[in-house]
């Protein structure tokens, strides 16, 4: 399956998308993906893919995004390995039928929820964490027993190549396939019928995916984005806050869907925060961040130019340099920005951090609530009350108090948006549940028919009374 000419696009031979889909669907219908042994073998294959090709993957990620080894490890490779291990460890448990309680009318019956695969799943991954955002959903889809079509992002070319050429070699190719292409090919792909679509990307494309899914009544999970607000209270240590915010903002050169997008704070706090941010940036990346091996690069020219444009908003307090040859943008802090400026109108997705001043917590909350629900929301304060207020009076996909998106590393917390930032969620068991149909099953015995007589016509008034009693939950106590 590997391309013979190193410079050419990886190809899947003469297999067209339609043939691929048909082939995978047929494989699913044979029941091949259902036994636990099969799923375990595939997950183990996935684990080996990550181990065998670690260096290759790190190199690809560096070429695509300038990611340092540490960033590649902690935000991509290790997280993928953990997810595989978690699924392997818990698969039997997750797959089990879930028993539920019954009412009096259905006592002596067995009621349970059967977890079933949907069938043919499509996973569309973006370019910013091209390995993580492909593999993590894939783990869930495989664990749940589905066949999967993977559509990696064509923008992160090098990772796409590794995924297309090597990943299929570790999986059963009758059940899993990688499909390549740009927006046009993806649009084509979306006209076909899938049993589930998992999409990570922008809200704009999310709408297109959902509209396409609607034509086939395909259920979806959309992991989208937005502007993630970061409120900094006056009552805090500016340096600690600056360290944490800077780390999460400039990680992956800001190209993270859950990164703090902009800061809301008072004028007084801003005056303390700016020098603290400068300290943090210098400490992390040195006096000339362009020479630091720990700072990533912008994915491509289009986004580089877009971000360069944003540097003109407000006033540059820190950074502001850029280098087109390297697609480098300095860790930047902007102040005096207006709400109407582009930097406050679109998701930044780059190493630029605007500070917006507000006069109070209430004003910050109003500011946030007037906008679309973000994927993440952050609040920094020594005062628990302040953090809780922010939490209770806003809505967002997830919430971090006094830190950034660390909650992502906890597989017991789901990752997902709400409103414009997305539909559905995943990670850990939540992935398994996302890719499973929960089928309600009630198995009765042919006996106990006398009890059923209550429900048969012809009816008298006593039917009504007895039925209410039998169907109520309180009546369970009797048996």
């Amino acid at each position: 399956m590997s391309a013979t000419d190193p410079g050419s696009e990886p190809s899947l031979g003469v297999d067209t998308s339609e043939d691929t889909l048909r082939r995978l669907r047929e494989a699913f219908n044979t029941g091949r993906t259902r036994p636990a042994e099969f799923r375990t073998a595939q997950l183990q294959g996935l684990g080996r893919f990550l181990q065998d090709n670690k260096q290759l993957l790190q190199d690809a990620l560096t070429k695509d995004l300038g990611k340092s080894t540490l960033e590649s490890d902690i935000s991509e490779i290790i997280l993928c390995q953990n997810e595989v291990d978690l699924a392997l460890k818990n698969l039997q448990h997750w797959m089990k039928d879930e028993s539920v309680s019954t009412n009096l009318l259905t006592k002596l019956s067995s009621a349970f929820i059967r977890k079933e695969p949907f069938g043919l799943v499509l996973i569309i991954a973006p370019w910013n964490y091209p390995l993580n955002l492909m593999i993590l959903p894939l783990v869930g889809a495989i664990a749940a027993g589905n066949c999967v079509v993977l559509k990696p992002s064509e923008v992160s070319k090098n990772t796409e190549k590794v995924l297309a050429e090597l990943l299929p070699q570790y999986l059963d190719q009758s059940c899993f396939a990688v499909v390549l292409g740009g927006p046009e090919e993806t649009g084509q792909l979306l006209t076909h019928r899938f049993d589930y679509i998992f999409f990570t990307g922008s809200p704009r494309v999310g709408k297109i995916v959902m509209a396409a899914a609607a034509k086939h009544l395909t259920p979806i999970t959309l992991e989208l984005g937005g502007k993630n607000p970061c409120f900094v209270d006056d009552n805090c240590d500016p340096q600690t806050v600056a360290n944490r915010v800077a780390w999460f903002r400039y990680f992956n050169a800001g190209q993270t869907c859950v990164a703090p997008d902009y800061i809301l704070c008072s004028q007084e706090m801003q005056e303390q925060l700016v020098p603290a941010l400068q300290n943090a940036i210098t400490r992390f990346y040195g006096d000339n961040p362009q020479t630091s091996p720990d700072l990533g690069r912008i994915i491509n020219q289009k986004h580089f130019k877009r971000l360069q444009g944003l540097l003109g908003c407000g006033r540059v307090a820190i950074g502001g340099q850029s280098d087109e040859g390297e697609r480098y943008i300095a860790p930047t802090v902007l102040v005096d920005v207006q709400e109407s400026e582009p930097v406050m109108q679109e998701e930044i997705f780059g190493p630029i951090l605007p500070l917006v001043t507000v006069r109070s917590l209430d004003e910050a909350i109003d500011f946030i609530n007037q906008r679309e629900k973000p994927l993440a929301l952050y609040a920094f304060s020594n005062n628990d009350q302040v953090v809780n207020q922010m939490l209770e009076r806003t809505s967002s996909g997830g919430f971090g108090g006094n830190d950034g998106f660390l909650y992502l590393t906890l597989p017991t917390l789901p990752l997902g948006g709400v409103g414009n930032s997305g539909i559905g969620r995943y990670h850990g068991k939540f992935s398994f549940d996302t890719f499973s149909h929960q089928r309600a099953c009630l198995l009765r015995s042919p006996g106990m028919e006398k009890l059923n007589d209550l429900r048969y016509p012809p009816y008298g008034p006593w039917n009504q009374k007895l039925l209410s009693w039998a169907m109520g939950s309180q009546s369970c106590i009797l048996l």
Partner: protein
């Protein structure tokens, strides 16, 4: 209509619907409404479906009272934050998932169980803390009117509203932005609802339909099976989304099935079915004519009588039905039961799998292994073995479809979850910054090892030493957090 949605959104934004006390008050008011105005409600349902008030009670009202009681008893638990297991890195933090309301929810009902299909989702949406617009089906006019009259009398009028109307009004409503839409109805309109929702990235729950197969095994208690199937098929004159749509069985069973069901029909509805108060009528002329056309060219083993004036269609069974005929191409939604013969269970399974995934699937057999096999080798929204319909009544089971029969589920706690956003929260303190130094650049090999240690579950040889050092670090952090 835009203004109405805006009004509800403002009311939601005020935060009034969030305190548990408020939600419980609204649910209690709803319960009072059902109890105090029972007569009016039953009369409306009865008028729409030519249903006896007793049937209206047992089909619809019982379920709602049960659902409200469930919510009142369980709301505190359902709405509480659920703690999440933490890892080493987050050991000292608070990690939990907090259920939150979504905002303004739209519930579109159907005409066949016009009361319960509005009220049951409404109970869930209120319990989850949302503002709600309900749009009852215009085909069940009387229930639509009574809901429009009663709901505002008992519920907070700024947070909950009833919108009535036909296709034009529904289309207008679907242009507005909602935070969740729950739709009960048919597949074609389901697609339209999802497309409209896509414009606003609104999550949807679609309770649709399909042809729910009923497989009768040779080895089963045929008396019981036929009794139960007769009950489930002809209740509400077959107009039930989870009614057994058609029967699959070996040819040799057909005649006995017909005979037993015929006897059961007589037991249930008497000699002159038209006179039985327990037998309903078809909702309107259009559906009546549609059902009449399904009988054309079919072998009617039993029943088949129709009366256009009263929209009466007798309990009917068709035998030796051709799978390609019209009656096997659409969801019947009427009192007509086709029997399609298959050679064995393998053929039955293939027959089912060649078609769209149904909302419900039924299997009658003494052989538990066979039942399990049919479940294992097919898919459907839900299953009842050795009975029909009943999985709907167990509210610890989610009720929903899959594939063409729908997406999402509700009932009981699943309603609450459907209408909530489950928000993950991780709360740290601002102290303990020393541990964080590990993650900050400039990076080095040792930092990488530490990072791996904290994130990877497996320890390598040096792990034990790291473990001890980590414990010390944690102890230090605890001291810092608690005492400094």
């Amino acid at each position: 209509m835009e203004r109405q949605v805006q009004r509800l959104r403002q009311a939601f934004r005020s935060g009034r619907s969030r305190p548990l006390r408020f939600r419980m008050q609204q649910l209690e008011a709803l319960k009072r409404m059902v109890q105090e105005r029972e007569k009016d409600i039953l009369a409306a349902i009865a008028a729409d479906l030519s249903k006896s008030e007793l049937n209206a009670y047992s089909h619809e009202v019982i379920t709602i009272l049960g659902e409200i009681d469930f919510m009142l008893a369980n709301l505190p638990e359902l709405a509480s934050a659920k703690p999440a297991k933490k890892n080493l890195l987050t050991m000292l933090d608070e990690a939990y998932v907090q259920p939150e309301p979504l905002g303004v929810v739209l519930i579109i009902g159907a005409w066949n169980y016009p009361f319960v299909l509005i009220m049951q989702p409404l109970v869930g949406a209120i319990a989850a803390g949302n503002a709600v617009i309900v749009k009852p089906s215009e085909l069940s006019e009387n229930t639509a009117k009574i809901l429009a009259k009663l709901l505002p009398q008992y519920l907070d009028q700024d947070l909950y509203a009833v919108v009535n109307g036909g296709v034009a009004e529904t289309t207008e409503l679907l242009k507005q932005r909602f935070d969740h839409i729950l739709y009960t109805g048919n597949t074609a309109v389901g697609k339209i609802v999802m497309e409209a929702a896509a414009k606003h990235l609104t999550p949807v729950t679609l309770e649709l339909g399909g042809k729910s197969p009923c497989y009768i095994d040779r080895d089963c208690d045929l008396d019981i099976a036929c009794r139960r199937i007769t009950w489930g098929k002809y209740m509400n004159c077959g107009q039930t989304c989870i009614a057994p749509d058609y029967v699959l069985c070996e040819a040799s069973l057909q005649d006995r099935i017909v005979q037993k069901m015929k006897e059961t029909v007589k037991d249930f509805y008497g000699e002159n079915i038209k006179d039985s108060p327990d037998y309903e009528r078809i909702i309107n002329l259009r559906h009546f004519k549609r059902l009449q056309s399904l009988l054309e060219g079919q072998k009617i083993a039993f029943g088949g009588e129709t009366d256009e004036v009263t929209r009466y269609i007798a309990p009917t069974i068709l035998t030796d039905v051709d799978p390609n005929s019209k009656v096997m191409q659409e969801e019947i939604f009427g009192p007509i039961l086709p029997i399609v013969s298959v050679k064995n269970v393998d053929e039955a399974i293939n027959f089912i799998n060649d078609r769209e995934k149904p909302l419900a699937l039924y299997i009658f057999s003494h052989n538990n292994k066979l039942i399990k096999r049919v479940i294992d080798e097919t898919s459907s929204g839900g299953v009842t073995g050795n009975d029909v319909i009943m999985h709907f009544t167990v509210n610890s089971l989610p009720f929903g479809g899959v594939g063409a029969s729908g997406m999402g589920a509700y009932h009981g706690k699943y309603s609450f979850d459907t209408f909530s956003h489950q928000r993950p929260c991780l709360l740290k303190g601002l102290k303990g910054e020393s541990i964080n130094k590990l993650r900050y650049p400039p990076n080095s090999q040792s930092k990488l090892s530490w990072a791996k240690f904290f994130l990877l579950k497996q320890f390598n040889k040096g792990g034990l030493v790291m473990l001890m050092v980590a414990c010390l670090a944690v102890v230090a952090a605890v001291i810092v957090k608690e005492y400094l």
